[in-house]
Amino acid sequence: MKKVTEKTSSSLAAVTRRDFIKFSGLAIAGIYTIGCTPGLGLKKASWGFILVDTNKCQGCQSCMLACSLVHEGALSLSSARIQVLSNPYGSFPDDITISQCRQCTKPACMKACPTGALARDPKHQNVATIDPAKCIGCQKCINACSWAPARSIWNNEAGKSQKCDMCASASNWDETGGPDGKKACLEICPMGAISFSNVIPAQDDPDSYNVDLDSSTPTAANHARTGYSEAGSMLEHQERKRS
């Protein structure tokens, strides 16, 4: 059962000072954003990570609607920066996948951007974001994304790319967004299937952003009473897939 506070995989890539300068464009050591939790050996990133528990997801796509609403002021599945894919004929838990931006420590999308539009935002804990003023719509960030479906999103109406910024730029909302603020998807999710953590998940593990958000809280027993059982946890499912 992969818990939010669990020690991350040894496959986590070490982040050197040179890498930091390369990705942030900043030469000031004091803004270094990845550190360790003393005593626990957990590596953290200031911009944080959206984690999901696909076992808990009810497939309502409220997160997608909320994301587009707070960013664009209009509801859209296509411009949502979190994507929920649902197969009504599938078998639980493989009937739903949630594709949120992984906020990679070494983002391929940032490396691919020719204009610097996709860069870390120092005003929002260095979350990777796309400046629409600089974006030329070349879509290299989308093509470079290591994950399918690509986490950088093509906004056809704007003619530009966009990506999850932890709601740092969400202007159609009365809340303050960003890594230190509120995230619309997390707030709207009626199932508590979305969480946020500064602990860096294993970067090369496709399942590391799917975590068990249920069993450590009283909600597991409550869900069981409603008939929604936790028989078959996420970890057990992952173990079966690997075997």
């Binding site: 209009a74 639980f92 739903i96 909302w173 078959g232």
Partner: protein, 695 residues
Amino acid sequence: MDVYGYTGKLLRINLTAKTVSELATSTYTKWGGGHGIGSAVFFDLVKDKTIGCYDPANVVTIMTSPLSGTLTPGCSARSEVQGIGAQAYPYSWFTRSGFGGRFSSMLKFAGWDGIIIEGASDTPVWVDIRNDAVVIRNCSDLSLWGKDTWDCQTTIWEYVRGTADMNAWSSPQTGSGGRTTQRPAVLAIGPAGEHLSRSSVLIHDAACASGQGGFGAVWGSKKLKAVSVIGTGSIPVYDPKGLMKTRIDHVRKYAYHADNPIPISIPNNFQSPPGAGVVFEILGATKHECAKRPSACMGCHTACKSRFADGLGNDSVCSDSAFYVYADGPDIVYRASDLLNKLGVNSLEAYYCMNYIQALLNQGIIGAGTAIDCPITFDNFGSYEFIEQFLKMLAYGDDGLGNPSQFGQDIAQGALRAAAKWGRLDQDLASNKLNYPYWGYPFHYDPRAQLEWGYGSILGDRDINEHCIYRLKYLSGGDFYGKSAAPITPQQVVNILLAKMAPFDDDELILDFSQENMYSAHMAKFVSWHRYYTRFWKQSMLFCDSRWPDFVNSYSDDFIGSTGQAEPAYLQAVTGNGMSFEDGIELGKKIWNLDHAIWTLQGRHRDMVKFSEPYHTKIFRGTSKDYLGKVDGAWTFISAEGRTVEKQKFEEFKTAFYELQGWDTASGYPTRTTLESLDMKNVADELEAKGKLGA
């Protein structure tokens, strides 16, 4: 001036000419959305309203609402289908049937407020909507005709997305640039609709069904297999900040909290925990013992469906999850549900048909050695083989094994038409072998007891399937499903409800279900309110019957639910329309009157409005105190034991209802005075021209 909530366009599809065109939604926005717009469009486009359901001139509409595709909880996902239906007997009334899922949302993202289907194709076709690119395609290219509903949908998904990879971005509309990760939303008929079984439905995804009305057969008569829609656009909102705040605050205050699961007394409503509608989960013997998740329609705050690790029974709820609940094993229940949805068969009709055939077989009226040869026996009832044969018999109109069968042809037309053909209709209705109380629809709830259900159904066009008042029985403190005693008193329930029932909120006796009051003008007001409320807020704005109304809510400090405040708040945030809840009731009255005008033009007269005979002659058996009643000056819950619907008193009730509506009491026809007061002079003119205007 910007208009929010509406895309501004209705898609008009002519299957005869195989053309597509647009109608401006602005012509119809005064009707709200959903049902209101559908009725108005039908009225305008169908000149001769006496046509039959299979006449190519029958117009079928699929409408969204301004709240479709928004974050309005228990509302974003509903679609409303209307047209002259095939199921009812003996009159094919203009009727309706809604369904959930994600179709209406996707239609809005594609830029359409609704779809209008006219004419009939000469060859099987399906409609391919990709944003504003709409093509009527031959089924032969993908071999769709003959496929079950699931196979049809998955085939279309792959075709529209241009890839079998469902985990990727696709650009379904060439040249537009819009992308999506989503599967198209498809509404399809199965073999039942193709074979004009009057027990056929429209299916979306696994188990979202436009179930009542027999629209599957109507589409089959038009040779329309499916409508697919994929949209990559967006829906602008008047007040995005307001919508987010309304949704978050409302759900936090009134909805189920896993961290604070207050035992609620009313299942299947706004405050329900997830999964509440899956009946085979509630019945212990059929509980699906495998890992599962709640499964919700788009934008809903708490799921009524579930999906399972074995992939069986996905998204099946209510009667389609329980119609074969007496099977030999639970896995057969789930597989039967899946087969029902794949074939596109109506679950309630299937259940009552099954009961009817068994009764006739048991009494030796049909079957071997009789004049009515029946290819099915009940020797293997409970098995999957039995239900497979039975459902295929209903779907294909054969013996269920692929062989021609007159019996199969007869029963595929519905139990009542079959009985009529066999010369047994009157006697089997009288004996209640055929339990079909209203307009040829099978029994759902009892007209002798659940008064608003029976009256609403018989004064309308079908089994209403609106649980708004029915669910209040769970507050009676009875042991229904083993729930604990109600947290509030009957007087509190009355106070809460009455406050939400303007313009009749000054008459508490509208809620008195006692025998003494069941035919009164008070009850006529209540039935009227319920018709107006459902016509607008549930069928035009599309608030889902599984979650709304929110009358009594255990999460609210004073048990007062959010209905009356919540609905207008969402409408305001999305559209900027300052319509009040009472304004919606008033518009619902207008829509109800338009529907009644259509039925009148179809040929309705008050003499036709009657329940099947047993409900007038046989007494209701049920001692459970489920209904509000005022006894000796105090509100309590009462039973309906021993009642019938007395014919003469029912006629008096009809007169009271017609008087309240402003209809001619002798005929039930609408009057010019009433119609013009509702800004429907054109409707009055048409009625007058057809000799159907009341005095």
